[in-house]
Structures are given as structure tokens and as C-alpha cells.
Point group: D2
Amino acid sequence: MKKIKFGIVGLGRLGEKHAENLAFRIPNAELLAVCSVVKEEVDEVQEKWQIKYGYTNFDEMLKNLELDAIFISSPSEFHCEQIEKALAAGFHVFTEKPLGITVNEVKKVSEVVNKYNDKIFMVGFMRRYDKSYAYAKEKIEKGEIGKPVMIRCYGFDPAQAIQGFLKFAKNANSGGLFLDMSIHDLDLARWYLSSEATKVWAIGGSYGYPEISEIDDAETGVALAQFENGTMGVFAASRNCAHGYHIETEIIGTKGTLRIGTIPEKNLVTVFTPDGAKIECSSGFLERFEQAYLSEVEEFVKCIIENRKPNVTVEDGIKSTILGYACKKSFETGELVKIEY
Amino acid sequence: MKKIKFGIVGLGRLGEKHAENLAFRIPNAELLAVCSVVKEEVDEVQEKWQIKYGYTNFDEMLKNLELDAIFISSPSEFHCEQIEKALAAGFHVFTEKPLGITVNEVKKVSEVVNKYNDKIFMVGFMRRYDKSYAYAKEKIEKGEIGKPVMIRCYGFDPAQAIQGFLKFAKNANSGGLFLDMSIHDLDLARWYLSSEATKVWAIGGSYGYPEISEIDDAETGVALAQFENGTMGVFAASRNCAHGYHIETEIIGTKGTLRIGTIPEKNLVTVFTPDGAKIECSSGFLERFEQAYLSEVEEFVKCIIENRKPNVTVEDGIKSTILGYACKKSFETGELVKIEY
Amino acid sequence: MKKIKFGIVGLGRLGEKHAENLAFRIPNAELLAVCSVVKEEVDEVQEKWQIKYGYTNFDEMLKNLELDAIFISSPSEFHCEQIEKALAAGFHVFTEKPLGITVNEVKKVSEVVNKYNDKIFMVGFMRRYDKSYAYAKEKIEKGEIGKPVMIRCYGFDPAQAIQGFLKFAKNANSGGLFLDMSIHDLDLARWYLSSEATKVWAIGGSYGYPEISEIDDAETGVALAQFENGTMGVFAASRNCAHGYHIETEIIGTKGTLRIGTIPEKNLVTVFTPDGAKIECSSGFLERFEQAYLSEVEEFVKCIIENRKPNVTVEDGIKSTILGYACKKSFETGELVKIEY
Amino acid sequence: MKKIKFGIVGLGRLGEKHAENLAFRIPNAELLAVCSVVKEEVDEVQEKWQIKYGYTNFDEMLKNLELDAIFISSPSEFHCEQIEKALAAGFHVFTEKPLGITVNEVKKVSEVVNKYNDKIFMVGFMRRYDKSYAYAKEKIEKGEIGKPVMIRCYGFDPAQAIQGFLKFAKNANSGGLFLDMSIHDLDLARWYLSSEATKVWAIGGSYGYPEISEIDDAETGVALAQFENGTMGVFAASRNCAHGYHIETEIIGTKGTLRIGTIPEKNLVTVFTPDGAKIECSSGFLERFEQAYLSEVEEFVKCIIENRKPNVTVEDGIKSTILGYACKKSFETGELVKIEY
């Protein structure tokens, strides 16, 4: 049985997790090469997991013809360029979200992906592979909630992580609250509602951390979107969620409603103390989406082996980015924004 | 100890419940008179609960000087006129929401209420007296969630009641989805956020019952509002909630979050069957707010006895109505609406 | 319409609540007389609620022929005697649980109740009138869970109340953990399982408060009972529940399971803080069973007016007491106890 | 880095899952050999996952000196013999529960394990490695619930699986309800309470499937145990749980309570339909304990690599079996059983 040989670029927190999964937990995958501009990261991972090749230069890694696929987990601003180079060099490509950080950039990626149409390309919208989200999709397709009418998405990062964000945000371009935090939700909304947003109004502010306003971003915000087929989407995002990492999604239909993750439970323990009955909450994305991060890559590997296209397409990456930009523009101007694709 | 003697006008479903409460369950209240244009209703209630006086004419009831207070539970279109007449005749007045059905009308009520300032006047925003909502308010005032940032309100009527609404809606003016259904939520948002809305965008549609569009109303809608102090409000309303009467409110603050009624549980029973673990849902407002309908009137009676003003003022009725009209206008025009008070 | 005129004996915490309900919240009831050996209690209640008659002597109250019914809420050791006297004097009688504190005593009450068969007699097993418990009973009778197989009952008093118990327990005879705390659960088990217990083994200890062992009682205990029809009952009781007043009941059937009060929620608020998602718990029986305390008395009043027997009979009081004694004996001897009726 | 090379015996439903995990998902493990008396199973797995060696004879597999460790997932009656042979042949051994099916047998295993003390031996009490159960243990050790007082364990198999059980039970010896179903719970109780049971009374019956009585077993049963340190355990087991695979554990302490798996949720989706708010339930052990089945083997592999003993010892296997036998004996005799070790 063929093993797909991977080279990964980017060894940050999520990149390292992906590397570990590729090395040990994905059937038919093998991690052959790691790449990061930070040499210490390369050395550490190579030694810890006995990875054969290490690079500090992405172009060098692309010359390694033992590899079958490139996994991109580098900072967002490099995604587009690396996708293009990797496809051009003849590799299958998996890229973390977002596809890119400007609308023009992501449109260009689309052209490249279509050009190298024989290669498998996939964007890391891993929530679609989370077993709860996938279960909800099945139910909708079976008609169990009738026609979807409205989606509500909460994407809240834990307050504990805000100092890290503030340090990072001054030097880097996160894309702003909606592009950075809501991008998964925008993809989910399109997926569940089977339609594209046509109008959006987004508001927000910085309530606990006014310094976020100083960098022209919002700590917490809400966008309301109207979709082509008349359905509606509410997208709330925050970097300051006191109780942890809260990802909640609700799809209201004409015959029923689905809620995913109402309480972002850490595990199945309820603790009864004089304070009450308490369910502790998830601390972050690696804890909440452990299974999804595995399953999306399993699917990618299967697509390569079986030579078929994944469910998540480059179009999903583009349309979600366009919608994210519309939210950003509405938040910045205070006006209702009409969206054109 | 003085007993406050009530005359009630309007003996519909909610009116009859109020009448029963006044007759039997409110300390220091006594129901002395009932009034309805439907003579059968008057006769039935008089006989069933041994009520001394019965009227089919509101003006006649106002001549009864044994009464201390008038309770208005008639159709919305009569509220303003009846409030004015009752105050002018020297009675304390409790009125069901809404204060009235046009902005001009409610502003006029305000003048009248201020003119008869020695009388106790109260609007039936009973949710403030629901023990869960009151508990949430206390927590906010103690600072337990920091500064409120955002409120999300769901006001969903059961799908089972939609045929009744359709029949009623053709002949009467409900005010439209947002005025009819969200008015309690708009009041709660103002109460919890301690601010007034300045901008609103509202969308909606008729997904399961297209006939609602034909009467220029929406079956389900969402409004997003920005408040003067920078906080945000999401108001979803529906007449077609498959699982029952779903009233849910969430207040997100800088240090914590409160949710009221996440699952609109009917009672404390969980039923485990091959379908799963199931909590049955509340069937309607009389079931969900039984305690609040009692407590608001208890408070009104206490205010009369202790000669002090209730917490809910005529201003609350006016401002909520203005906001409800702004939602309606935004829904009808598709545009962002700026609100002026 | 006839109003049933009540005299109440016992004005402790629960007695005062019953008095308030009788005075203001029960249709067709009127509180005409209050009685307590503590004169201050009588005076206070008479003045606060304008009660016509006050007594410090129970026999005196029985001479008041304006009364229709006697409500017994005095300490347990007086129940039997007062029931007998009140029935003999020609009154309808409602008595708080327990029927009495020895098996002989309760058997004698049974004879008396049967003798005055034209009088309405009811024991305060109010849980049967709690809307959640009543709902569960309906479901069982409709066959929704198949045949009941097993019941699990938790009856846990809040740890906050333990100092009060310790003070009281040295001077009075509570009957011990199982008779005092589990009596409602034993009645519920008989009601839901439609059978009588035949064997029981009970164990327990004093884990946080060793002084409870010194008075030959247990702080926390569990009894396992086998019923005549082969069904099973688990009864856990505690005086030291850290999170509050926890009354939980589960009935497992061949086709489904019902749980009542899994989380003893105080209200419908969920609080999200850095500690997690928290539901605060009920603080005591008056908070948890407010509705049931009203409904049981409403039913008693209706029974008098309609001249029919209540659902809860003197037999229920006797059989539950016998089972409670068997638990006590098993706990004291460490042996399996066979029960005879 | 050394990879531990495994041979597995037993390729039933759970055995196949373990084989897949060893082959693809456990860092530093490699599946080199599979063994089953059913040749088709061996062939299928070898081909599907490209496993180098296949055996239909256990003794043959033990001659393969490329192997480091033997994983026993065969029927319970072979465990003891295979453990002994594998240890004697110089392998590390992981065995599925139970250790064996008679008390004498498991005591003999203990001697063997102690004799080959340089080999790593582990029993598959995987619940200890489930992240919720492990989290509860940590909390107890930190003193967050004070001293444990009582444990309640539910081990309920889905009704859907009962036909399979009935077919199997006529030909094989499951050990009876308590040994077969409660063994994990008995281990957990000992682990959480840090004590051994001294007395037990067990009852049960066959309520929906009388044919289970015919094979002298129970469909549903409850055991109540008293532990040496005065703590208490309630163990309910069933083969007929209508709503699915329900594993629930509660530890009540002097300062707090922990509940694990109150609702045996399948995933994080809540479905709102006219029936209510519904959480679908887990369908079986592979779904519920997926993570634990991985983590226990990861721990075993780490123990081999780091040459240290696992947390779960052969003593745990023995003492849990002795307690399971006491439950069985009590159920069969109807008497209270004193336990000696």
C-alpha cells in the first residue's frame, strides 16, 4: 500500500500538531520533511520525531522529489505564494486557512489551482470534518430540519490568549476580527445554507481591551448577512471570551433546529460544588478540534490515493474570503455592504 | 390591610389568566369587575369566579367608584385610549404590552401618564419579573460579567400556534414580527445594556408559510442593532418554532456571559428513549411565564399600597416601541435605519 | 362558591409558608386561625396577614366551629395525636409528612382515618403534585418507558443547613436519616413501581461530620431495596450536599428512562465564567417545591369541595413509614432486613 | 527511536480495532503479526493493512522473535493461558479485561506476572485512560471534592445489542451480568475510593427478556457494596438500555461531586424538533471509548520504552474479579456476601 510522503512548512503551534499527526496518526501518511525559517524548530522536530529531512528554505524543500505532498501551515501572508510554488513543482497541496489575505491574491490562487487540476488541492476548513459538524450536515441533507432559515455562528477565542494576540497583532496582519476569526464560520454558513451572502452589516468594538481599537480592529463584533436564497446569517466573533474557546453553531430550519457546541465542554465531567453544577470549557482549538484536524488530513490522503477531489474546494476558500472582506469593510465604514463575486 | 380592588378589561387567553390571578393568587388584590365586548366572556368569568360586576362597556366600568385600579388586557389598538380614560377617571393603571401601536400614540400616552403623576402606572414587561431574568440583572449589577458587550434575544412562538396567527393576522394589525414578537426583547436589551439603540438593520422572510409575506410581514427575522454606548444587540423572532415556545436571552460581558433559557424546558424531566436524551419544550407564554405574570402584578399592587413608582416606566414602553418601529422600517425598506428619540 | 376555612397548627419555616399560601394563594381557601405553642409566632402571623383567630393551644382551636379543616404542620411527634383529635372534632385534616414516628403510631392513625371516613384526609407527599413528578407518572402510565425496572432516588439536604440540623438533632428525634430524609422517596418509589418493598439493605456513615455518628445517625447513606414485583430501588440520602438541595429521581424502564431533576437548577440561568459553564443549584425545599406545596393544598381543597378522596391515602403514609423503619433497622444492624406489612 | 513490534491475538470487533490502532495510530508501535483461529480474519486483516505475519496458532506466533509484545484480545476464557505463555516466551503483555474467568485462575496469573517481573504487563482497564475519567481522578487527588463518600456506576449496554448477546450467551460463558458488565466499574470504584469492598448485596432480574433468566443470568441488576474505609458503591448494570450505551459514573465527596457521562452524548449536536431538545446517545463502546482505547496502548508502549510499570496492575485485575464474583454469588443466593481477599 502506497504511503503518501509529506513535507510540511510552518512549525508553529498548529504546524507542529499537524506534523505530529502526519508522522504518527494518519494511516498511509509519512512525514519526510519539515521546513521553517526558525532553525531551532526544524532541529527540535527532526530530532524528537526522527524526521529525515529538515529545511529552513521552502524552495529547497520543493526540490526534494521523494515527497508527494506539501502541507502549508506557515503564516497567512505566505500561503498564496507557497501554494503556487508547490503546485508548480508538481506536488499535491494542503493549505491551512485562510487561502490568502487579499481578495486579489485568493482569486489568483484559484487560477493556479485550476491550472494544476491533476493535483489534489485542499483548504483546511477542518470543521466540516469534525464529527458533530458532519453529523449536522447529514441531518440537514436528510431534511430533518426542513429548509434552513438562519444560521448563528459564535467564534470566540479564550481571553487567556489575548495577550499573545496583542503582541502578535502589532507586528503582523491578522486580517482583522472577521477574516481571522469568522472565516471558518463563513465557510460553514455557505455550506449549510447552500447559498452565497449578498449583503452584510458588521459592527463591533473593543470593550475590555481598548488597545485593539488602536490597531483598527475589534475585540468583539457581530455581522448580520442576508443570503441569495433569502436565508440569514449571524456571525459573532470575539478575542475575549472569559470562559474559554467557544465555537457554537446553530442552524434553524422550518421543521427543526440543530445546535453544535452550545456548551463548549472540555470533557464529559460535571463538577458539583457550592458554586453550582459546572461544566469546564474547552481551552483552545487544538483541544476542541483534535479529531477534525486528523480527519481532514485523512481525507486529503485518501483523495490522493483514490485520485478524487476533496469536498472543500478552492472556490470555498475564495468565497469565504470575499465575504470576510465584506464584513471587514462594513465594520470599518459603518455601512451596509453589498457583495459581488 | 387594604385590598386593592381591580376591574379588568379584555378576557382573551391572557386576560382570563390575569383575571384568575387577580381573583385568587395576588395577595392584597381583589377582582371586583370584569369587562369585555363579548358578553359571553363576561358572564362566564363572573359565574365561574363569582365576580361582583360585569361590563360590556369600558366607560361604564370606569364609573364604578368601588374600584382602585384598572387592568388593561384588551387588543393592542385600544390600549392608548383606555389608559388615558382610566387615568383621567382617577384609577391606577396596569396595561399589557404594547403601550400602543404607533409612535405618535405612545408619545401621547407618555404625556398623559406624566399628567396623572400621582397614579401608579405600569406596563406589562413581565419578563423583568421572571425570576431567571431578575437573577441575571442582579448578577450584571454586581459586576459578575464585567461590562455587557452584546445581547442576543430569541423570541420564537410555537409553530403549533401559526394557524391561529394566520387567521387573526388577516383581520387585525399585529404591528408586524418585530413589534409584536420582539417588543419584550427590545425592552430587555435596553434594561440589560443600559443604553438606547441608535442604528438597526433588520431582515427576514417567510420560509415555511409564504402567505405571511402576502400580508407584508415576516415569519422569521433577525435585527442587528448598535447601541449608543457601543454595545450590540441581535434580535431574532419567529412565528414558526418547531419545538415550541423558545425565549432565550444571552448577555455577553467582558468578564463572563449569562444565558437564560438555552433549552426552553417544559419541566425538570429528561426522557431517555431510543431517540436520545430528550427535554420537552415549553408550549407557550402562559406556561413559561406563569410566575412572572403573577410577580409583575404583585409588584404593581405593592407599588399602589406603598405609593411608589414601579421599575418599568412609561418611557420604557415608548423607547421599546420606537426601536420596534425602526426594526419594522428597516425590514420593509432593506436599509440601515438610524433611530432618533 | 364555598370557601374552605382553615386553621393551621405549627408556624415553623414550612408552617408559615403553608399559612401564607392558605391566606393568599389557594383558590377557595381562607386562613381563619393560626396556632403555635410559641405565642410570638402567632402574634406575628396574625398581624402580618390579618388572621382572625390566634391560639397557643391546639385543643382550643378545635373548638372553633367556623373552621372546616385543620392543617397540621407541627413537629412530627405531635402529628398522630393531632390528626386523631382533629378528625374526632369533625374537621377535614391535612397533615405534613411523616404520618408519625413509630410504626405502631401510624397504624393507629390508619384506624382513626378509616373510622372518620366521611372526612377528607391527606398526607403532604407533595412531590406527587410537583409538575415534573406528575409528568413522569403520566408518561409511565402511558407506557412510554415500558415496564419500570428500577428507581434511583437522591434526597440530599444542603451542607449549609447542617449546623441547624446538628443543633436540632441533639434535642429532638428526627427518626434518623432514612425516615427523615428518604420518606418522600420511599413514597415515590411505591407510587412509580406500583409495588411494595420486601427486602432492604442500608449502609451509611458520617464522613464530614463525625458527630452525627455519635447520635447514632448517618450523614450520608444508601439503601438498596427489592420489591415484590421484582423491581429494584436505590435510595441515597445525605445531610451534607455541598452544592445545595439535590432531589433527583430516575425511573429506568424496559423501553426508556425518566430522570427528574438531574441538575437541581435554581433557575434557567447558565453562567459562563473562567470556571466553566455553571448552573446554580436550588438552596432548599421551599425553593424547589414552591409549586408542589401550592398544588397539593389546592387538590385537598378541591377534594373537600367535590367530596372525593385524594390520591395520597393514609395507607401510603403507613407503608412508606414501615419501609423507612426497615432501612433504619438495616443500617443499625448491618444486616439484610425482610419487610412485613 | 525504537518501535515496539506487536503481535495481536483475537480479531473480533474490539480486536480488529486494537489491531488498526497498533498499525496506524500509536506512536512507536508497529503491528507485525496477527493471530486468530479464524483464518479468514487473519487473511483479511493482513491484506487490508499489509501486516507481515499471520497465524492461526498462538504458540506459533510466540516463536516469532522479531516481536517485542503480545496483545491479547481473544475470548475471556483464553486470557490466563495466553498471558502465561506469552510472558514465559519473553514478551511484554497487554491483555484485554477480564484477567480471567475464575478467581483461582486470576490468582495464578498474579503469580506468573510477579515471576516475570522484568516484563511490562498491563490489563485493559481503559476507562482509567479516558480523558474524562482521568480528569475526575486528578480532581479527587487535588482534594476538590473532599473525601470520596460514595460512587455510583451505571454500565448499560444498548438494547440494540441484546439479540447478539442472547445468541452468544447460550454457547459461551460471559461470567454473568456483574462480571461481564460491571468489571470496569468495580475497578473504577476501587481506584476512586482507594479501598476494597468488604460486603455486597446484589439483586436483579430479567424484565424485558425473560430468556436471560433461563440461563441463570440477569438482564438488569444492582449491587450495593460497603468498602473497608466506610465508603459506599452502587453498581447498576444492564444489557437492555433503550437509549444506547450508557456509561455513567458519579463520585460524591464531602465537599463536592463529580459526574462523568450523565448524558451519554454521541457528539456535540442538540436537535430541536417537535419532540423536544434531544441529544442523541452513544451507540457502543468503540464510539464512547475511542480515545481511551488509543491512550491505554500509548501508555503501555511508553512503559516498555521507558521501562516502568503501568498504573494498572495485575492486582487491580484480581481484586476487581473477586468483587465481581461476590456480586454474582450474592445475586444467585439472594444473601449479603462478605468478601475476603
